[in-house]
């Protein structure tokens, strides 16, 4: 299938690499971001510290205005931090962008309407001068992975919203990035499509071994997908807690399936994230001690 090409990029031991700061996919140290607006200075992010290991799936969750999208934009080098230090695979974010170390997907698919599905997926490859034969085979693999092979020659306006989003995800994977940045990519989808896409994404992330930074405001989505959930609070945007997901003896994310959504450990985690979101300092029902509980940045 698609695996042979996509697997080559990154570590097979990725999910276990937590704590390895040298190879960190993303390292954020004391980052502040302020916006100058007509009504004064807005502190979008304050004193953010976060490390995402290679192959790790980290979700950013929080209410609107908590700066989760801003943080992702900083990592993507679409914005610059006011102060602090950001690196992606040990490089500056600008260098990482120039080196195409990450793939990105936004809330809207953002496909080019005049290009077919296949041509949309091929766009980054075309821009970076990948030879056309190589391009064709990679596009075929990617479309196979997102299940859109039959739609290769359609145009975006002939697809449903979910299909468009799958094309966008295939496009973000086109250059086999070791890091995927996703800003509420399933936000505009209906619940059924959403769950299917989540299951697909878990599989794809596991297949490719890519680290993922995933912005969402759905708690179940964050729990289902992530190794760790970063809970943020607004005004100023801060990390209030980082909750590691412990989902019933499942060691690899690739093992996660739809059944997980009905397990008690899933609900425990949902509760824990919810309490963290609502500023709950009170303890959650889980009884074993959690090592990385409550990373307070203040």
């Amino acid at each position: 299938m698609s695996d042979q090409i996509l697997n080559s990029a990154a570590a097979t031991d990725a999910p276990l690499a937590a704590g390895d700061t040298d190879a960190a996919a993303v390292s954020v140290r004391g980052v502040n971001k302020q916006f100058q607006t007509a009504t004064g200075v807005v502190h979008a992010l304050e004193a953010i510290d976060l490390t995402v290991s290679a192959g790790e799936f980290v979700s950013l969750i929080g209410p609107s205005g908590c700066g989760k999208s801003t943080l992702m934009r900083l990592i993507a080098d679409l914005d610059d931090p006011t102060s602090g230090d950001l690196t992606v695979f040990g490089k500056t974010t600008t260098q990482a962008r120039l080196d195409q170390d990450y793939g990105i997907a936004f809330q809207q698919a953002g496909l080019l309407p005049w290009r077919t599905v296949a041509a949309n997926v091929a766009l980054p490859l075309e821009l970076h001068g990948v030879a056309s034969a190589d391009r064709r085979s990679r596009v075929a693999n990617l479309l196979d992975m997102v299940g859109l092979t039959e739609f290769a020659d359609r145009f975006p306006d002939q697809l449903s919203g979910g299909m468009q989003q799958r094309v966008a995800i295939a496009r973000s994977l086109a250059e086999q990035p070791r890091l995927l940045l996703m800003d509420e990519p399933f936000g505009a989808l209906d619940e059924m499509t959403r769950e299917k896409m989540q299951t697909d994404l878990v599989r794809i992330a596991a297949d490719t071994g890519a680290a993922v930074v995933f912005v969402t405001h759905s708690i179940p989505e964050a729990v289902f997908l992530s190794d760790r959930v970063v809970v943020m609070s607004p005004r100023p945007g801060r990390i209030s807690q980082i909750v590691p997901m412990q989902l019933n003896a499942i060691d690899g994310r690739q093992e996660r399936s739809d059944n997980l959504r009905e397990e008690s450990s899933f609900f425990e985690m949902v509760t824990e994230v919810r309490e963290a979101l609502h500023g709950g300092a009170s303890d959650s029902p889980g009884d074993e001690p959690r090592q990385a509980r409550g990373v307070d940045t203040r």
């Binding site: 679409l78 962008r97 990105i104 975006p156 697809l159």
Partner: protein, 293 residues
Amino acid sequence: MTARPRLVGGFVWGLAGVLLIALAWEGYKFFGPADGLSIGELRVLPRTTDLAMPHLWDMMARLAEPVTRAEGALPLWAVVALAALTTLGIAAAGWAVGVVVGVGFALLMQRWRLAEFGLLPWIVISQTVPLIAFAPVVKSWGSRVEIGSFEWQDWMSVALIASYLAFFPITVGALKGLQSPDRIHLELFETYASGYWSTLKQLRFPAAVPYLLPALRLGAANAVIGAVVAEVSTGLQGGIGRLLIQFAGQASGDPAKAWGPIFGAIVLGLVAAGSVALLSVILKDYRRTEEAA
């Protein structure tokens, strides 16, 4: 699927429109007062005499007759067609220059905000200069241009004036089109570390097509009008503008003849706009939008 019936439908409606105008013409000629209607000195309705309003069938019949009584004279329609072709050629040259200049200005203004602030007001003002006023000036300037073996021809003055009218809508349309890509697309290209030229080629130009096509069509219509008017005011021989004036002068003796070049000018405008429509068929994929159907 629906393209063919819509095409046929459009054709039928177009024909119905022409028929309606013909009916109005003949109807007024039949029922209207022979001397028109005047309020005081002001005539508000035209005369309906054969001199002022010839029958449509007379105009059509006149088209088939020879242009003059001279031996071996061409039929009127052929003379009109030849003149229209000449004008079309000049207008096309003017349009092409207008496209180059218009897109050039748009690129400049898209690239540098400062250029937009500095140029756009002047471009707008340029269109307020009455064309007839400076057509003779262009001609007299042109007649002094002589670079090596290149000598300025009179038709070039006409083409220049046509381009002067054509470039304006193209500039405005192209600028709007080049500025049209969504932020999400621009940021996507930024994440691809795509430079100015590749973003221009892969994003800005394709996104500009839906804005450019109507602008090009408007430019084509303007180029035709500019060419006809410039022919009249520079007195260039051989084109439809000259023919309009010449035959209008003979209208007292041969009223139907004056309508020949008018029909020619109408067909000329349609052909010019139609050629651009052809372009939009070729570029139809670029007129899609992202929304699901």
